[in-house]
Symmetry: C2
Subunit: 348 residues, 2 copies
């Protein structure tokens, strides 16, 4: 009979009254507690809660307990498959531990990233995962570290994805090694004249991949002249424009490496729009192995990163739910990468 259509949600108080027990007993029966409570009572409380449509107010709980069930995830762009795949992993792992994930986007803007971290600290998240593209030499870098350190000092845990950001825990991606292996594999396929669409110079991931690629080529005695390195946005359109620029330069090239897959997709489209058949005229390779690159034509050669696992692992690393202590460096070494040769780079 008790219609719950009141103006504000039922409180634990209401439940206790309804069940005829004390607040303490109600709390103990509904949300776990070290103390036992008589099964009869427990039953009564649970039923009362049911009847009133009670749900624990997580905020109040957090205040009382002094700890939350929140995880904050920062990404550069949630619509980018790279980040959304990572997010999927984080969310999945989080829900296993009954944690709630809040996502914020930074748009690859260091200032905004800093602001976001500050704002998110207000949530007192258990964990903060930074998947955004780390930049080098940003004036905000130091401030960010300070902010994060003080977050850790006050009981939070931070995890980075991609580059080592000691002293913070990191899920290391072997950007350098992966790119090197790719370069070697391509050289062995017979490619000789390379160009790289490299993304902004200050994005560390981009830089590492470029370095690794260049190193791999060097092992085969192939050099990568500076004019064959084109910096552009870390996005699909950046890749597209980078390829256009390359073409306009008149350079003779038999393979274009874009430092990530979304850029590579842009490259493929740009080549095609310029009347060049990707994979026949010029080979194209990317990095990340986002889902779509299997489905474009030709399928893209790339370096595979198990993105969802990376997200999952970042969370586990931070919560310490795997690999022993959360501060054990970065778990068992960097995430392995794998070179995947597909149709976009046939043997020459």
């Amino acid at each position: 009979m008790s219609a719950p259509a009141s103006k504000s949600p039922a409180t634990l108080h209401d439940v206790a009254r309804e069940a005829g027990v004390s607040l303490a007993t109600a709390s103990r029966s509904l949300n776990g507690s070290a103390r036992k409570v008589n099964e009869d009572y427990r039953q009564r409380v649970v039923e009362a809660a049911q009847r009133l449509g009670y749900t624990t107010n997580l905020f109040a709980q957090a205040v009382a307990k002094g700890s939350t069930t929140t995880v904050a995830l920062l990404v550069a762009d949630i619509a980018d498959p790279y980040f959304s795949s990572i997010a999927a992993g984080v969310i999945d792992a989080a829900s296993e531990e009954r944690l709630v994930v809040t996502i914020a986007v930074t748009g690859r803007d260091a200032q905004r990233e800093l602001d976001t971290v500050r704002a998110l600290r207000g949530q007192r998240p258990r964990v903060m995962i930074l998947a955004g593209s780390r930049t080098t030499g940003s004036a905000f870098e130091a401030e960010l570290r300070t902010e994060l350190s003080s977050f850790e000092d006050t009981g939070g845990k931070v995890a980075f994805i991609s580059q080592d950001a000691a002293p913070f825990a990191t899920v290391l991606l072997d950007n350098r090694g992966g790119a090197r292996d790719l370069a070697v594999a391509l050289a062995e396929l017979g490619y000789r004249d390379f160009a790289v669409i490299a993304g902004p110079a200050e994005i560390r991931t981009a830089q590492e991949r470029l370095d690794g690629f260049s190193a791999g080529l060097a092992e085969h005695g192939i050099s990568l002249p500076a004019e064959r390195i084109i910096h552009s946005d870390f996005t699909r359109d950046g890749g597209y424009r980078g390829a256009q620029e390359l073409l306009a330069s008149g350079a003779r090239v038999d393979l274009v490496f874009a430092v990530n897959d979304v850029m590579a997709v842009g490259v493929v489209s740009a080549l095609r729009d310029a009347g060049i058949a990707p994979g026949e005229g010029i080979g194209v390779a990317g990095f990340d192995d986002i889902p779509t690159v299997r489905d474009i034509t030709p399928a893209l050669t790339t370096v595979r990163i198990p993105l969802e696992d990376v997200g999952r692992r970042a969370l586990q690393l931070a919560t310490g739910s795997a690999y022993g202590a959360p501060d054990a460096g970065g778990g068992p070494g960097p995430i392995p990468t794998e070179t995947i040769i597909r149709g976009s780079t046939p043997r020459r």
Copy 2:
């Protein structure tokens, strides 16, 4: 001198003491308040906060105010570009209003969706946005509605995306009309023998698109026999398998319509793997206009939905920050769709 490296974050209390003012004054200076506070004091407080690295504890604030700054977003799969684009819109609009977005994934499972809604209610979000694929005839449908109603009774606001879910606010997508227009356009291009890879029968979005498409064909006197409708998963792999099944049936078809783009991408790959050139042998069309379909070959004909806008609008609809009252139905009618003809459906 005051090193903040304590074990727990600075509280407003600490700030007040540091600044030599009362708690009330500190609160008023840091977080907005109707009351004015002397500029001298305000300054002192702000500096003290700065010095101590204070950030408002949002949870405590929420408890005290009885209202939160949280928005909950439920999606079927965050790695799916359809949902991640919508999420991007929601997050963008939310951050404009200084709201924080928590994302949960339901995996198209009605039971899990219900559980998630229940769990999320504990967060007392201002708004709950359901972008998951609504299903029909689910046993959980009624329970879900009850749960959501009681959420609204206690001051929350819910917004659906896609199908009308009266009495809840909805950002209506014109699935039916869009599919109809597409069918008409394709018929006018000269296609005659259609098949549809239709997704699970119980997903409403899928069903509406199928119906609309079929109606459009009917206008041109073309019928869509039941054996040309293949139900499969609402995913890329679902599309792939659906196309395989279609091919195996030996049906003569000149156009395959997949009810969403990720499925269409699967269809394209399946055709190609079967040695059929998509766009030449058989036309392919999708629905949604996710970013990738411009970049596959041939570029995919589809029905465009401004996904980010949809997300943005869902949030605004729920917070009432646009189009007058939040309960004004669904704002200014359904989101317009647009048929986009690309290379995958050349004139026959």
